[in-house]
Protein backbone atom coordinates (compact mmCIF):
# COMPACT_ATOMS: atom_id res chain seq x y z
CA UNK A 1 0.00 0.00 0.00
CA UNK A 2 0.92 3.63 -0.38
CA UNK A 3 3.68 4.67 2.02
CA UNK A 4 2.37 8.24 2.33
CA UNK A 5 -1.11 7.06 3.29
CA UNK A 6 0.40 4.63 5.77
CA UNK A 7 2.42 7.45 7.33
CA UNK A 8 -0.66 9.71 7.52
CA UNK A 9 -2.68 6.98 9.21
CA UNK A 10 0.13 6.31 11.66
CA UNK A 11 -0.04 9.92 12.79
CA UNK A 12 -3.69 9.29 13.65
CA UNK A 13 -2.76 6.21 15.65
CA UNK A 14 -3.81 3.66 13.04
CA UNK A 15 -1.18 1.08 12.26
CA UNK A 16 -1.52 -0.90 9.07
CA UNK A 17 0.66 -3.69 7.79
CA UNK A 18 0.60 -6.43 5.21
CA UNK A 19 1.24 -10.13 5.54
CA UNK A 20 4.43 -9.64 3.58
CA UNK A 21 5.76 -6.97 5.93
CA UNK A 22 4.77 -8.91 9.02
CA UNK A 23 6.32 -12.11 7.67
CA UNK A 24 9.57 -10.41 6.73
CA UNK A 25 9.69 -8.42 9.96
CA UNK A 26 9.40 -11.62 11.96
CA UNK A 27 11.92 -13.48 9.85
CA UNK A 28 14.58 -10.79 9.77
CA UNK A 29 14.50 -10.39 13.53
CA UNK A 30 14.85 -14.07 14.34
CA UNK A 31 17.68 -15.34 12.17
CA UNK A 32 19.06 -18.39 13.90
CA UNK A 33 22.60 -19.19 12.76
CA UNK A 34 24.06 -22.65 12.62
CA UNK A 35 26.75 -23.07 15.28
CA UNK A 36 29.41 -23.90 12.79
CA UNK A 37 32.97 -22.61 12.69
CA UNK A 38 35.71 -23.72 10.35
CA UNK A 39 38.77 -21.65 11.21
CA UNK A 40 39.93 -18.42 12.84
CA UNK A 41 36.91 -16.42 11.57
CA UNK A 42 34.84 -18.57 13.90
CA UNK A 43 36.58 -16.89 16.84
CA UNK A 44 35.35 -13.53 15.57
CA UNK A 45 31.90 -15.04 15.08
CA UNK A 46 31.93 -16.27 18.67
CA UNK A 47 33.08 -12.85 19.86
CA UNK A 48 30.19 -11.28 17.93
CA UNK A 49 27.72 -13.45 19.79
CA UNK A 50 29.12 -12.53 23.20
CA UNK A 51 28.45 -9.54 25.43
CA UNK A 52 30.68 -6.89 23.88
CA UNK A 53 29.22 -6.98 20.38
CA UNK A 54 25.98 -8.67 21.43
CA UNK A 55 24.44 -10.33 18.42
CA UNK A 56 21.30 -10.73 20.53
CA UNK A 57 20.34 -7.20 19.53
CA UNK A 58 19.50 -8.62 16.12
CA UNK A 59 17.58 -11.60 17.47
CA UNK A 60 20.30 -13.87 16.16
CA UNK A 61 22.05 -15.04 19.30
CA UNK A 62 20.49 -18.49 19.23
CA UNK A 63 23.23 -20.53 17.60
CA UNK A 64 21.63 -23.84 16.79
CA UNK A 65 23.58 -27.07 17.07
CA UNK A 66 21.39 -28.75 14.47
CA UNK A 67 21.00 -27.63 10.85
CA UNK A 68 17.33 -28.52 11.08
CA UNK A 69 16.72 -25.61 13.42
CA UNK A 70 18.93 -23.06 11.68
CA UNK A 71 18.10 -20.34 9.13
CA UNK A 72 21.58 -19.04 8.46
CA UNK A 73 24.88 -20.69 7.76
CA UNK A 74 27.90 -18.52 8.52
CA UNK A 75 30.76 -20.10 6.62
CA UNK A 76 33.39 -18.82 9.02
CA UNK A 77 36.80 -19.74 7.80
CA UNK A 78 38.85 -21.69 5.31
CA UNK A 79 36.89 -24.37 3.52
CA UNK A 80 39.26 -27.19 2.72
CA UNK A 81 38.40 -29.59 -0.03
CA UNK A 82 38.05 -32.30 2.58
CA UNK A 83 35.46 -30.21 4.41
CA UNK A 84 33.50 -28.83 1.44
CA UNK A 85 31.20 -31.88 0.99
CA UNK A 86 30.20 -31.70 4.64
CA UNK A 87 29.48 -27.96 4.39
CA UNK A 88 27.23 -28.51 1.38
CA UNK A 89 25.51 -31.43 3.06
CA UNK A 90 24.84 -29.36 6.18
CA UNK A 91 23.44 -26.62 3.96
CA UNK A 92 21.17 -29.16 2.29
CA UNK A 93 19.85 -30.26 5.65
CA UNK A 94 18.77 -26.79 6.69
CA UNK A 95 15.06 -26.06 6.26
CA UNK A 96 13.99 -23.23 4.01
CA UNK A 97 14.22 -20.27 3.95
CA UNK A 98 17.97 -20.50 4.44
CA UNK A 99 20.72 -17.97 3.99
CA UNK A 100 24.48 -18.07 3.77
CA UNK A 101 27.04 -15.53 4.91
CA UNK A 102 30.52 -16.23 3.55
CA UNK A 103 32.70 -14.76 6.27
CA UNK A 104 36.27 -13.80 5.55
CA UNK A 105 38.65 -13.92 2.63
CA UNK A 106 38.96 -17.72 2.76
CA UNK A 107 35.26 -18.43 2.57
CA UNK A 108 34.74 -16.05 -0.34
CA UNK A 109 37.83 -16.85 -2.39
CA UNK A 110 40.32 -19.09 -0.63
CA UNK A 111 42.05 -16.04 0.84
CA UNK A 112 45.73 -16.33 1.73
CA UNK A 113 45.52 -20.08 1.10
CA UNK A 114 44.18 -19.68 -2.42
CA UNK A 115 47.28 -21.28 -3.93
CA UNK A 116 46.95 -24.29 -1.68
CA UNK A 117 46.11 -27.56 -3.41
CA UNK A 118 43.72 -28.46 -0.61
CA UNK A 119 41.70 -25.26 -0.26
CA UNK A 120 38.37 -24.55 -1.91
CA UNK A 121 38.49 -21.20 -3.69
CA UNK A 122 35.22 -19.90 -2.30
CA UNK A 123 32.15 -21.69 -0.97
CA UNK A 124 29.99 -19.91 -3.57
CA UNK A 125 31.16 -22.54 -6.03
CA UNK A 126 28.69 -24.96 -4.49
CA UNK A 127 26.00 -23.08 -2.57
CA UNK A 128 24.36 -19.70 -3.18
CA UNK A 129 25.89 -17.07 -0.89
CA UNK A 130 23.75 -14.11 0.20
CA UNK A 131 26.35 -11.88 1.84
CA UNK A 132 30.12 -11.89 1.35
CA UNK A 133 32.31 -10.27 4.03
CA UNK A 134 35.92 -9.52 3.13
CA UNK A 135 38.58 -9.38 5.82
CA UNK A 136 41.13 -11.67 7.36
CA UNK A 137 39.44 -12.19 9.70
CA UNK A 138 36.62 -9.65 9.50
CA UNK A 139 36.05 -7.78 12.73
CA UNK A 140 32.82 -8.46 14.61
CA UNK A 141 31.52 -5.12 13.35
CA UNK A 142 31.86 -6.47 9.83
CA UNK A 143 29.81 -9.52 10.74
CA UNK A 144 27.20 -7.27 12.33
CA UNK A 145 27.14 -5.26 9.11
CA UNK A 146 26.63 -8.48 7.19
CA UNK A 147 23.72 -9.30 9.49
CA UNK A 148 22.17 -5.91 8.81
CA UNK A 149 22.69 -6.39 5.08
CA UNK A 150 20.99 -9.78 5.30
CA UNK A 151 18.14 -8.25 7.28
CA UNK A 152 17.65 -5.64 4.56
CA UNK A 153 17.69 -8.38 1.97
CA UNK A 154 15.06 -10.40 3.84
CA UNK A 155 12.97 -7.28 4.33
CA UNK A 156 12.80 -6.70 0.59
CA UNK A 157 11.76 -10.22 -0.34
CA UNK A 158 8.32 -10.46 -1.91
CA UNK A 159 5.79 -12.96 -0.65
CA UNK A 160 4.00 -13.46 -3.96
CA UNK A 161 4.58 -12.69 -7.60
CA UNK A 162 7.29 -13.72 -10.03
CA UNK A 163 10.04 -12.01 -8.01
CA UNK A 164 9.46 -14.06 -4.89
CA UNK A 165 12.54 -15.75 -3.44
CA UNK A 166 13.50 -19.34 -4.24
CA UNK A 167 12.15 -20.82 -1.03
CA UNK A 168 8.60 -19.86 -2.06
CA UNK A 169 8.96 -21.33 -5.56
CA UNK A 170 8.04 -25.00 -5.64
CA UNK A 171 10.28 -25.78 -8.63
CA UNK A 172 13.40 -24.10 -7.26
CA UNK A 173 15.84 -26.61 -5.76
CA UNK A 174 16.40 -26.62 -2.02
CA UNK A 175 19.33 -29.02 -2.14
CA UNK A 176 22.51 -28.67 -4.08
CA UNK A 177 24.65 -31.59 -5.25
CA UNK A 178 27.24 -32.59 -2.68
CA UNK A 179 30.69 -32.75 -4.30
CA UNK A 180 32.72 -35.90 -3.93
CA UNK A 181 36.25 -35.87 -2.57
CA UNK A 182 38.06 -37.08 -5.66
CA UNK A 183 41.58 -38.14 -6.40
CA UNK A 184 42.90 -34.73 -7.48
CA UNK A 185 40.07 -32.27 -6.83
CA UNK A 186 36.49 -32.15 -5.78
CA UNK A 187 34.18 -33.68 -8.34
CA UNK A 188 32.63 -31.64 -9.82
CA UNK A 189 35.02 -28.70 -9.19
CA UNK A 190 32.05 -26.32 -9.06
CA UNK A 191 28.30 -26.30 -9.48
CA UNK A 192 27.64 -24.49 -12.78
CA UNK A 193 24.07 -23.68 -11.73
CA UNK A 194 25.39 -21.64 -8.82
CA UNK A 195 28.75 -20.39 -10.00
CA UNK A 196 30.37 -19.77 -13.34
CA UNK A 197 34.11 -19.31 -13.76
CA UNK A 198 34.97 -15.70 -14.45
CA UNK A 199 35.72 -15.02 -18.09
CA UNK A 200 39.15 -13.43 -18.58
CA UNK A 201 38.98 -10.04 -20.23
CA UNK A 202 40.83 -10.06 -23.55
CA UNK A 203 41.23 -6.71 -25.20
Amino acid sequence: MDEGLKSELRKQGIFLTSFEDLYNWGRKNSIWPLGFGLACCAIEMIATSMARWDLARFGAEVFRPSPRQADLMIVAGTVTKKMAPQVVRLYNQMPEPKYVIAMGACAISGGPFKQGYNVLKGIDRYIPVDVHIPGCPPRPEALLHAFMTLQRKIDEQALTGPDRPAHLVAQAPSEFPVPQYGEHDLEPPNNPKVWRPPVPVTS
Binding site: Q86, L90, N92, Q93, H167, L168, V169, E175
Partner: protein
Protein backbone atom coordinates in the same frame (compact mmCIF):
# COMPACT_ATOMS: atom_id res chain seq x y z
CA UNK B 1 -26.93 -10.23 39.75
CA UNK B 2 -26.56 -13.86 40.62
CA UNK B 3 -24.85 -16.05 38.02
CA UNK B 4 -24.87 -19.79 38.11
CA UNK B 5 -21.34 -20.40 39.25
CA UNK B 6 -19.87 -23.71 38.24
CA UNK B 7 -16.23 -24.33 39.13
CA UNK B 8 -15.94 -26.89 36.37
CA UNK B 9 -16.94 -24.35 33.74
CA UNK B 10 -13.85 -22.34 34.58
CA UNK B 11 -11.67 -25.40 34.13
CA UNK B 12 -13.29 -26.12 30.76
CA UNK B 13 -12.69 -22.55 29.62
CA UNK B 14 -9.05 -22.69 30.72
CA UNK B 15 -8.63 -26.08 29.05
CA UNK B 16 -10.03 -24.81 25.76
CA UNK B 17 -7.81 -21.74 26.04
CA UNK B 18 -4.71 -23.81 26.73
CA UNK B 19 -5.34 -26.25 23.89
CA UNK B 20 -6.12 -23.39 21.54
CA UNK B 21 -2.97 -21.56 22.57
CA UNK B 22 -0.94 -24.62 21.68
CA UNK B 23 -2.76 -25.58 18.49
CA UNK B 24 -3.38 -22.16 16.94
CA UNK B 25 0.28 -21.47 15.98
CA UNK B 26 0.61 -24.96 14.55
CA UNK B 27 -2.58 -24.53 12.53
CA UNK B 28 -1.45 -21.11 11.34
CA UNK B 29 1.93 -22.49 10.31
CA UNK B 30 0.20 -25.34 8.46
CA UNK B 31 -2.10 -22.94 6.63
CA UNK B 32 0.81 -20.65 5.81
CA UNK B 33 2.77 -23.56 4.37
CA UNK B 34 -0.27 -24.60 2.28
CA UNK B 35 -0.77 -21.11 0.92
CA UNK B 36 2.74 -19.76 0.43
CA UNK B 37 5.62 -22.04 1.25
CA UNK B 38 5.85 -25.31 -0.68
CA UNK B 39 7.46 -28.28 1.04
CA UNK B 40 10.78 -29.33 -0.43
CA UNK B 41 11.86 -32.70 0.87
CA UNK B 42 15.15 -34.08 -0.37
CA UNK B 43 17.61 -36.86 0.12
CA UNK B 44 19.89 -35.00 2.50
CA UNK B 45 17.11 -33.15 4.25
CA UNK B 46 15.24 -36.35 5.01
CA UNK B 47 18.36 -38.16 6.22
CA UNK B 48 17.93 -39.69 9.66
CA UNK B 49 20.85 -37.88 11.27
CA UNK B 50 21.57 -34.21 10.79
CA UNK B 51 25.29 -34.32 10.25
CA UNK B 52 27.84 -33.29 7.68
CA UNK B 53 28.96 -36.87 7.40
CA UNK B 54 26.78 -39.65 6.10
CA UNK B 55 26.21 -42.29 8.71
CA UNK B 56 27.61 -45.63 7.67
CA UNK B 57 27.34 -49.14 9.01
CA UNK B 58 24.64 -50.66 11.16
CA UNK B 59 23.43 -49.27 14.46
CA UNK B 60 22.63 -52.79 15.72
CA UNK B 61 26.13 -53.86 16.69
CA UNK B 62 27.55 -55.48 19.82
CA UNK B 63 29.44 -53.31 22.24
CA UNK B 64 32.21 -54.83 24.36
CA UNK B 65 30.62 -55.07 27.79
CA UNK B 66 33.76 -56.07 29.69
CA UNK B 67 33.70 -52.98 31.80
CA UNK B 68 30.51 -53.97 33.58
CA UNK B 69 32.41 -56.39 35.83
CA UNK B 70 34.60 -53.54 37.07
CA UNK B 71 31.46 -51.50 37.57
CA UNK B 72 29.84 -54.21 39.67
CA UNK B 73 32.94 -54.71 41.83
CA UNK B 74 33.28 -50.97 42.29
CA UNK B 75 29.63 -50.74 43.29
CA UNK B 76 30.00 -53.47 45.92
CA UNK B 77 32.99 -51.81 47.56
CA UNK B 78 31.34 -48.43 47.31
CA UNK B 79 28.40 -49.75 49.31
CA UNK B 80 30.83 -51.39 51.71
CA UNK B 81 32.42 -48.00 52.42
CA UNK B 82 29.03 -46.59 53.30
CA UNK B 83 28.61 -49.32 55.93
CA UNK B 84 32.21 -49.08 57.13
CA UNK B 85 32.01 -45.39 57.97
CA UNK B 86 29.28 -45.61 60.68
CA UNK B 87 30.91 -48.84 61.84
CA UNK B 88 34.19 -47.02 62.45
CA UNK B 89 32.48 -44.05 64.13
CA UNK B 90 30.48 -46.23 66.53
CA UNK B 91 33.27 -48.76 67.04
CA UNK B 92 33.90 -48.04 70.75
CA UNK B 93 30.28 -48.57 71.71
CA UNK B 94 29.69 -51.76 69.73
CA UNK B 95 28.93 -55.12 71.27
CA UNK B 96 30.90 -58.23 70.34
CA UNK B 97 27.93 -59.56 68.32
CA UNK B 98 27.80 -56.45 66.12
CA UNK B 99 31.56 -56.68 65.56
CA UNK B 100 31.29 -60.32 64.47
CA UNK B 101 28.35 -59.47 62.17
CA UNK B 102 30.36 -56.69 60.51
CA UNK B 103 33.40 -58.93 60.12
CA UNK B 104 31.26 -61.59 58.44
CA UNK B 105 29.89 -58.93 56.08
CA UNK B 106 33.42 -57.76 55.24
CA UNK B 107 34.67 -61.30 54.74
CA UNK B 108 31.78 -62.04 52.38
CA UNK B 109 32.82 -59.11 50.21
CA UNK B 110 36.50 -60.04 50.40
CA UNK B 111 35.53 -63.55 49.32
CA UNK B 112 33.72 -62.04 46.36
CA UNK B 113 36.83 -60.07 45.44
CA UNK B 114 38.98 -63.20 45.75
CA UNK B 115 36.52 -65.03 43.50
CA UNK B 116 36.65 -62.27 40.90
CA UNK B 117 40.44 -62.19 41.10
CA UNK B 118 40.69 -65.95 40.70
CA UNK B 119 38.35 -65.78 37.69
CA UNK B 120 40.70 -63.32 36.01
CA UNK B 121 38.22 -60.44 35.93
CA UNK B 122 40.78 -57.93 37.16
CA UNK B 123 43.05 -58.53 34.16
CA UNK B 124 42.24 -56.12 31.33
CA UNK B 125 42.27 -57.83 27.97
Amino acid sequence: MQLDYSPYLLIVILLVGAVGFALAPLALAWLWAKRFSPPKPGQDKNAIYECGLESKGDAWINFRAEYYLYAIIFLIFDVETIFLLPFAVAFNGLSAGAFVAMTVFLLLLVEGLAWAWGKGVLVWR
